[in-house]
């Protein structure tokens, strides 16, 4: 049976999202999800970065075999953002999440470069929400990925809703891009796998904004061939994040 890893899910009560750890774990159980990458809520992504990071770090520390914490920092905080990123990764965060539309910056603006350089030093990937112009566009991510060719970038939501064509073309423009599939329907998933190759495609639910069951149903309906399905549903996430979770014995939390 194909292992399922959810590469993108929010934890906590924000303004437009609401989930708690108990429900999250039971939702994973119900749908056979082995591991989940946890992202803070909308409010925490925008302004309250440290509280959000601590929440996902704590949840992952309590369930190290099943949960990966991903940190977020707002680049407008400058040096403090870099310091918070270093702290969170030191405590077990497996990557950086950026949301240019919520955080209010042009994705390829040089103001974000210190954060990306820090991720390169720390050896963690960068996940970026895309699909919300004018701030969070796939080609802006390509520009950033070309500036930092050693960093792996995840194109969140594959440019959904309106920038799918951009997301498709981006596959050939920057080899250090991986695409995350939430909000994609079956025909679209097939196109993404063809454009990127399955080992550059990662399942994510974006729950609780979207719904884990709905997103999994879309993937089942795509009827990907077994090797491709294994990569999309879990293999790509394992390659990006997996050494700290599951069979490897869980997250090491500094100071705990």
């Amino acid at each position: 049976m194909t292992e399922i890893i959810d590469g993108h899910r929010h934890l906590g009560r924000g303004v437009d999202m609401d989930d708690d750890l108990g429900h999250l774990l039971s939702d994973m159980d119900e749908h056979g999800v082995a591991g989940t990458v946890l992202i803070p809520t909308d409010r925490e992504i925008a302004v309250d970065n440290r509280a959000g990071n601590d929440a996902v770090l704590a949840a992952a520390a309590a369930h190290p075999a099943r949960l990966w914490p991903m940190a977020t920092v707002n680049p407008w905080f400058g040096d403090r953002a870099v310091a918070e990123l270093v702290r969170a990764v030191g405590n077990g965060a497996v990557g950086l999440k950026l949301h240019p539309a919520l955080q209010g910056f042009v994705l390829c603006h040089p103001m974000v470069h210190p954060l990306i350089a820090t991720c390169q030093t720390l050896g963690v990937p960068v996940y970026v929400h895309t699909g919300t112009p004018p701030y969070a566009q796939p080609l802006q991510l390509v520009e950033l990925a070309r500036t930092f060719p050693e960093v792996t970038f995840v194109m969140g939501h594959a440019g959904s809703t309106d920038l799918k064509a951009d997301a498709q073309v981006a596959a050939t423009m920057a080899p250090n891009l991986v695409v995350e599939t939430s909000w994609s329907l079956p025909a679209r998933l097939t196109q993404l796998v063809e454009a990127y190759g399955a080992d550059r495609v990662m399942f994510g639910s974006d729950a609780p904004l979207s719904d884990l069951g709905l997103e999994l149903a879309n993937h089942r309906a795509a009827e990907l061939a077994a090797p491709a399905a294994a990569a999309v549903m879990g293999g790509t996430a394992r390659r990006l994040f997996g050494t700290r979770v599951g069979a490897q014995g869980g997250v090491e939390v500094a100071g705990s």
Partner: protein, 278 residues
């Protein structure tokens, strides 16, 4: 009875993965999901102002007039738009208008839209807008058009999509003659819309034909996952839509899908019911 209020005539070169070839294939897909009636829009005609696209939709729907409801489109900023609307409705039997401001390249608040609004009211037909994408298709732009033409049922075809569903919810609560087909809304946003604005001006619409045969199953499940009371779910899946096709001029024949539900009021009454909730 399930009415899909948002489907696009397939296929064309830009959206090759559309629904089955011809009306038989499309109806087979609808049958697979228990969908009885579909409102059918053009796809190619949203980027090409040739009025023959309206004729293609009419001919497609003529294959099953009890199940396929033709909608027409016009380019509001081009000369003759109102004339083409009259032709498509009065000669072609179109039962509503579909507009896609960003594909067609106009603002819902363009002054020329007022002539179209007046014509829509005179014809007694609803208009479905693509919405959710600035700069020309924000829900509040569509709602402002609806406020200028309170006698016209105006439908947000996507409920603001991912990024502007908050606008769509505000608009639905403010404007009585506004309706929402939530294809493109996140399930969490749709839940909040139902909690805050009720379901009496909510429609089931899948956007089928615009790229993926799985759309209908996906969008149906979004509605069913709301776990509405049975009567409310029936209304969303079909009853509410039949209020809108019922609202139409005398020269047309029996409503598609048989007589409307006995409890149906006018679309205005539905709007005012919801206003009382908020």
């Amino acid at each position: 009875m399930i009415v899909d209020t948002h489907t696009h005539l397939p296929p064309d070169s830009f959206f090759p993965a559309g629904l089955g070839q011809g009306p038989d294939g499309f109806l087979a897909l609808c049958d697979a999901h228990g969908i009885d009636v579909a409102w059918v829009f053009t796809t190619a005609g949203l980027s090409d102002p040739d009025p023959r696209h309206n004729d293609v939709v009419r001919e497609f729907c003529a294959a099953a007039p009890d199940r396929l409801v033709p909608f027409c489109t016009v380019f509001p900023h081009l000369p003759g738009a109102v004339d083409e609307l009259h032709r498509a409705v009065e000669e072609g039997g179109a039962r509503g208008l579909k507009l896609h401001p960003w594909l067609q390249g106009f603002s819902p608040l363009d002054p020329r839209m007022d002539d179209l609004g007046t014509a829509l009211e005179a014809l007694g037909i609803p208009v479905v807008f693509h919405d959710g994408t600035p700069p020309n298709s924000s829900p509040l732009q569509v709602a402002a058009f609806a406020e200028r033409h309170p006698g016209v049922p105006v439908i947000l075809g996507h409920g603001g999509l991912h990024d502007l569903w908050v606008e769509a919810l505000a608009a639905l609560q403010r404007v009585d003659n506004l309706w929402v087909s939530p294809s493109g809304m996140p399930p969490s946003g749709l839940r909040r819309m139902v909690d805050q604005a009720g379901a009496s001006r909510l429609l089931f619409g899948s956007d089928a034909g615009f790229g993926d045969p799985h759309w209908q199953a996906f969008q149906l499940r979004k509605i069913r996952d709301l776990r509405l009371p049975p009567e409310a779910e029936l209304a969303v899946l079909g009853g509410n839509a039949r209020l809108l096709v019922q609202h139409r001029p005398e020269h047309q024949s029996e409503p598609v899908g048989g007589p409307p539900p006995a409890r149906a009021g006018s679309f205005r009454e539905a709007g005012q019911r919801d206003r009382g909730k908020t």
